[in-house]
Amino acid sequence: MLRFIVRRLLLTIPLLVGISLISFLMIHLAPGGPISIATDLNPRATADARARLEKYYGLDRPLHVQYARWLERMATLDFGDSFSPDGRPVAQKIRERIPITLTINVLSMGLILLVAIPIGIYSAVHRGSLFDRASTVFVFTGFSIPTFWLALLLMILFGVKLGWLPISGIGSLDYQSLGLAGKIADRARHLLLPVLLAGFSGLAGMSRYMRSNMLEVIRQDYIASARAKGLPERKVVYRHAMRNAVLPVITILGLSVPDLLGGSVIFETIFAIPGMGQLFYQGVMSRDYPLIMGILTIGAFLTLLGNLLADVGYALADPRIRQG
């Protein structure tokens, strides 16, 4: 098992290089560049000034040299400095955005699992029942409603009409002056709507997935033989069927690891959340190459890591793979 993990980790290195190369080329294919975006509308920017800026950022060199220099720095985990006016290190910019995005995504993912798995299992066990049909309508409503629209409606209801919840940002103006408990409560009030909304829109996929897994498992022969032993239905469902039906969720969880850090642009814009989505969006719009490359590389690494975690997790949970 340990050898398997080490081998897979080593395999990620060439994959990462390949992914970064493609990303790098794609970014430079996009029209416009950081210099033209920063100077085009400035009447005082001379051709000379542009050339100096290009030289300063190393953009005057051939593309392959730029990539080689980027790769060289990456080898020492140096993401470089942002092209934006503040010129701060990319790693630092990403690091300060991660906690808030991660918090929202982990919470909403937890919410999805907590709600969707029971819904899926119960729907499958009681297929065709009122609950099954009602939950189907409910989860597909969540899936179909545009998130931004529902978000606006909820903001109007809870933020404006009822005045229960703040409608934007992640902290009140007096956040710094609050005690620890107050800070937590304030943060929670700000995150409640975003987390609920993200969870609601994600319910459909997971609950339908659980339902179909469970329906598939329930008609297996070993479920009939478990019943033939005289096990009560409860035990048949929870001991025999559920374990088999939940196994594939491990794969889904592994595959969603990169999503945990990638914020949603629309979401973060609506709720004014300073997260990864917003950072990436700004980076793309200003052609901030080091920042874009940094985020893409982290995303690629997490994707590969997630796949590995899914395989390892599945192997730990399923004896057929563990000993196969």
Partner: protein, 346 residues
């Protein structure tokens, strides 16, 4: 206690499908005495497994609907039992082994756990003792190295070993009736013989009754005290096995026996029953076998050819024949034989 251990009376089961209702059992009656082995033979789809699953009430419902009849276990109608009492019957008074040992065990639980479960489910003992008893039962069914095997998962075992584990589970609480639904169909021929020998040995040691479902007449011949032949959701003939093989009455049984290889007829081709089983969703009235029946077809030919002035077997197309007794315990449902042999009591 005298009287049958299990008595199925006029059991009718339908399946509600998208295309309409399909009748699966048309009033099946069958009884099994304590310690007796009854073979239930028929081709695929004739209702053998549906009969077996109805006894334990394991038919998925929907789509299965029990329309009528009763299933009496020592006089108690299983169809009326609340689900909780039914769980007490399953695996303890009546247990079952299935056709597919490869898929009948849960892949994520060890074989030992799955055998032990039958003890804990019926509150026979605690977990620790259940595990020990599971190992001992695996030994009794000749599982090699039972202690190690109990800790293994189903995928690490061959089909034969898995079927042994299934048998251990089924016998662990010494049921009075074992339903074996094609227990050897999915196994290699040599393993089949081993498993049948094991069942034979267990049957004698535990003195249990066995309902042996199979499409293999050879297995029935060696193993069953009585044999019932099923066709299209009905029992068309039931008799002591010896009598059935020496004097088959129903033309379907006759056809089945004639199609056995190695009967020394010397002809190169095996005989077969012409025609195909009718679609269960549109069964015509009358005898279900009429379309394939040599007697019926001969009568029709004579009538159409003008040799007979009237269709002597017209009744076959109108009435579903009831079972008549031709010899002690030997029942068959055939209008032709009833007319030819006469006698018999219904």
């Amino acid at each position: 206690m005298s009287g049958p251990l299990l008595a199925i009376r006029d059991l009718r089961v339908d399946f509600a499908t998208e295309k309409g209702t399909v009748r699966a059992l048309f009033g099946v009656s069958l009884s099994i005495d304590p310690g007796e082995t009854v073979g239930l033979v028929g081709e695929s789809g004739c209702g053998k497994s549906v009969t077996a699953l109805s006894i334990l009430r394991l038919l998925p419902s929907p789509p299965a609907i029990v329309r009528g009849g009763e299933i009496l276990l020592r006089g108690e109608n299983l169809l009326d039992l609340p689900e909780k009492r039914m769980c007490e019957v399953r695996g303890k008074a009546v247990s079952m082994i299935f056709q597919e040992p490869m898929t009948s065990l849960n892949p994520v639980l060890t074989v030992g756990e799955q055998v032990a479960e039958v003890f804990t489910a019926h509150r026979e003992c605690g977990r620790r003792e259940a595990a020990a008893r599971a190992v001992s039962w695996l030994g009794k069914v000749r599982m090699p190295d039972p202690e190690r095997r109990a800790r293994e998962y189903p995928h690490q075992m061959s089909g034969g070993m898995r079927q042994r584990a299934m048998i251990a589970t089924a016998l662990a609480l010494e049921p009075s009736l074992l339903i074996a639904d094609e227990p050897t169909t999915a196994l290699d021929v040599t393993i089949q013989a081993q498993i049948m020998a094991l069942l034979q040995e267990m049957r004698e040691r535990e003195r249990m009754a066995v309902l042996l479902i199979t499409h293999d007449l050879g297995v029935v011949h060696d193993f069953a005290d009585r044999t019932a032949i099923m066709y299209l959701g009905r029992i068309v003939e039931i008799a002591p096995t010896k009598g059935l093989f020496s004097d088959p009455i129903h033309p379907y049984t006759q056809g089945l026996l004639a199609s056995l290889p190695g009967k020394g007829t010397g002809t190169a081709r095996l005989s077969s029953i012409p025609g195909a089983v009718p679609d269960l969703s549109s069964v015509p009235p009358g005898c279900p076998f009429a379309d394939r029946c040599p007697y019926r077809q001969a009568a029709l030919d004579r009538f159409r050819g003008g040799a007979d002035s009237r269709d002597s077997l017209g009744i076959c197309d109108r009435e579903d024949p009831p079972l008549f007794e031709y010899a002690p315990g030997h029942f068959a449902a055939c209008h032709y034989q009833r007319a030819m042999r006469g006698g018999g009591a219904s």
